[in-house]
């Protein structure tokens, strides 16, 4: 129930003060008015995240155990070039219908929004050109590649061990 209420009010935690919202009185919907729900006004980059990622990754960058957690984690990947590439080359990012420019903008937003503290110091935002080049190389086995990238982060001393970025690859059989 609580998570449901949170999901309705899509308010990024770190930008609480800045996110424009829409008052319940201004929304012609019987339930919005009944419950007095304040809705966020969604910026274009947030809309791109919502349509392409939020359904599984969650409005705050974390969701169920089988879906990789972005909140407090995704930023680690920016510390190595392999990790930086991986964030663009995961199939749902690489194959997204978003053009390079918007994809770059969304990745940059997502990283600062959900994992600003884990970013490489002096993090250089993705550019459209970089995204374009990275999207030309596909990963054949995502499971294998992720393991390599995570091992690389451990070797580089970015994370203490692989467990820091572990998530369940087994489907949740509830």
């Amino acid at each position: 129930m609580a998570s449901f209420a949170l999901a309705i009010a899509f308010v990024p935690t770190s930008a609480l003060a800045q996110t424009p919202t829409v008052s319940p009185e201004s929304v012609p919907d019987v339930l919005v008015r009944e419950r007095g729900t304040w809705l966020p006004k969604v910026a274009p980059v947030e809309e791109d995240y919502s349509r392409n990622c939020q359904g599984c990754h969650g409005h705050e960058g974390h969701s169920v155990q089988e879906v990789p957690r972005l909140q407090g984690r995704a930023g680690w990947f920016t510390h190595t070039s392999a990790g930086r590439a991986y964030l663009v080359q995961v199939p749902n990012v690489l194959q997204s219908s978003l053009p390079d420019e918007r994809l770059a903008a969304m990745l940059n937003w997502l990283l600062t929004q959900f994992s600003g503290e884990q970013l490489k110091p002096g993090f250089e935002p993705y550019t459209a050109a970089e995204v374009h080049a990275l999207r030309a190389q596909r990963i054949e086995s995502v499971i294998a590649r992720r393991r390599e990238v995570v091992d690389g982060l451990v070797r580089a001393g970015v994370i203490p061990d692989a467990a820091a970025l572990a998530f369940s690859l087994e489907p949740g059989r509830y």
């Binding site: 089988e66 749902n92 690489l94 194959q95 997204s96 596909r138 990963i139 489907p171």
Partner: protein, 391 residues
């Protein structure tokens, strides 16, 4: 009491050809258990496969936890049997007709508890279960679509799609009756088998991925370039397919056909062509339904469910079936349906029938020689997918 009578009757039937003979073993039974004279119970089996037998997979939406597969005699227009199935099930027929496969999901306490996914092996004539093979990675739970569960053309492997959320295909060896492993197909879905160790899948960026796997289910994936536009004109998930020849005919939201030859390691894409003339477009005809397209292999004719509606009504039931020559790409017939239908298939024999799953629901059969109605069989609540021997 009924059960006792039946089991005793079985015993009696087994003992002698003559129906009313009391063997010694029966003498110790209480009088109430002694079979009455007259009919002994026997057990029907399906006749050998024939082209006009239709298997109708029914996910029962109001009671989704259980499904059914109806076996319909398309010649006699009659129900031959009904199979039970689990949650959002799928189905496949062995190419040599030696097995029927049902892909099931169950929970230990009905709608809750420990989940199990399995491929269940059925004898094709007496519909008894020979084995069930666990699918340890689970399987894709979705309103059933044919191409999420397949069997390789040589019958050796079952291929079952999974999204968890990584997209993979589980491989089951039908000879060993064992799960062998999963093939990763990143960002893709659907299974089009093309060889004993190879299948293709459609990807979210408009490309086709082809996976070739070895006995250890270690796979290499190759990708085509973009062959359709996933934004403006995605291909729908049911296809006209010739598994023997390795030809797939995709139909898209805008009524385009994309023929793809998957018979070789590298798929070959033939030019797309439209189902619609300018007049058709002006009248707002669109393909739509669920299993909306069928290919008659011998004559290379494509059958497509069509309705009048704007774009984005791709699940709307069809009011007509249009017939196309896949070689000339011309429409050669239009069949007005008695009842709107969501799914169609055709028998693969020389005098084919068109089977349509209507919204009533019912299965209405048309003779493709003259478009006349052969019959209508009513069953089920929400039947969805149609399979024929020789698919």
């Amino acid at each position: 009491m009924k059960r006792t009578l039946t089991s005793v009757a079985f015993a009696a039937a087994c003992l002698a050809a003559a129906p009313v003979v009391l063997a010694d073993e029966l003498k110790d039974l209480p009088a109430s258990a002694k079979p009455l004279g007259g009919e002994q119970h026997n057990l029907a089996t399906l006749s050998k496969p024939y082209p006009k037998r239709v298997y109708v997979l029914e996910p029962i939406f109001p009671v989704f936890v259980a499904g059914k597969i109806w076996v319909i005699n398309g010649e006699k227009q009659d129900i031959e049997a009904v199979m039970s199935a689990g949650y959002a099930p799928n189905f496949a027929i062995a190419p040599d007709h030696s097995q029927l496969y049902v892909f099931d999901t169950y929970w230990s306490k009905g709608f809750r508890g420990t989940r199990s996914d399995m491929a269940t092996f059925y004898d094709p004539l007496n519909l008894t279960i020979g084995a069930d093979v666990d699918l340890p990675k689970g399987r894709f739970l979705v309103v059933p679509k044919k191409q999420n569960a397949e069997v390789t053309p040589d019958g050796r492997y079952l291929l079952s799609y999974n999204l968890a959320p990584a997209t993979t295909v589980s491989v089951v060896d039908t000879k060993e009756r064992k799960y062998k492993g999963d093939v990763e197909i990143p960002g893709c879905g659907l299974i089009f088998p093309s060889a004993g160790n190879r299948f293709s899948s459609v990807c979210s960026d408009g490309t086709l991925a082809t996976a070739t796997f070895d006995a250890n289910i270690k796979a290499t994936i190759t990708r085509s370039s973009k062959f359709f536009d996933p934004d403006g004109d995605p291909v729908l998930e049911h296809v006209g397919i010739d598994k023997k020849k390795g030809m797939v005919y995709f139909v898209s939201y805008e009524g385009n056909i994309f023929p793809v030859d998957i018979s070789k390691e590298k798929p070959a894409f033939q030019p797309k062509w439209s189902l619609l003339t300018d007049e058709d477009k002006a009248e707002s005809w669109y393909p739509g339904g669920w299993q909306l397209i069928a290919l008659h292999r011998a004559t290379q004719k494509l059958y497509v469910l069509m309705h009048k509606g704007p774009k984005w009504t791709h699940k709307q039931a069809g009011e007509e079936v249009w017939v196309f020559d896949a070689k000339t790409k011309k429409r050669i017939d239009r069949i007005k349906l008695k009842e709107h239908a969501i799914s169609i298939t055709v028998s693969q024999d020389a005098e084919p029938y068109l089977f349509t799953q209507t919204e009533k629901p019912s299965l209405i059969t048309y003779n493709l020689k003259d478009g006349s109605e052969v019959g209508e069989v009513e069953f089920g609540i929400s039947p969805y997918l149609l399979y024929v021997d020789g698919d």
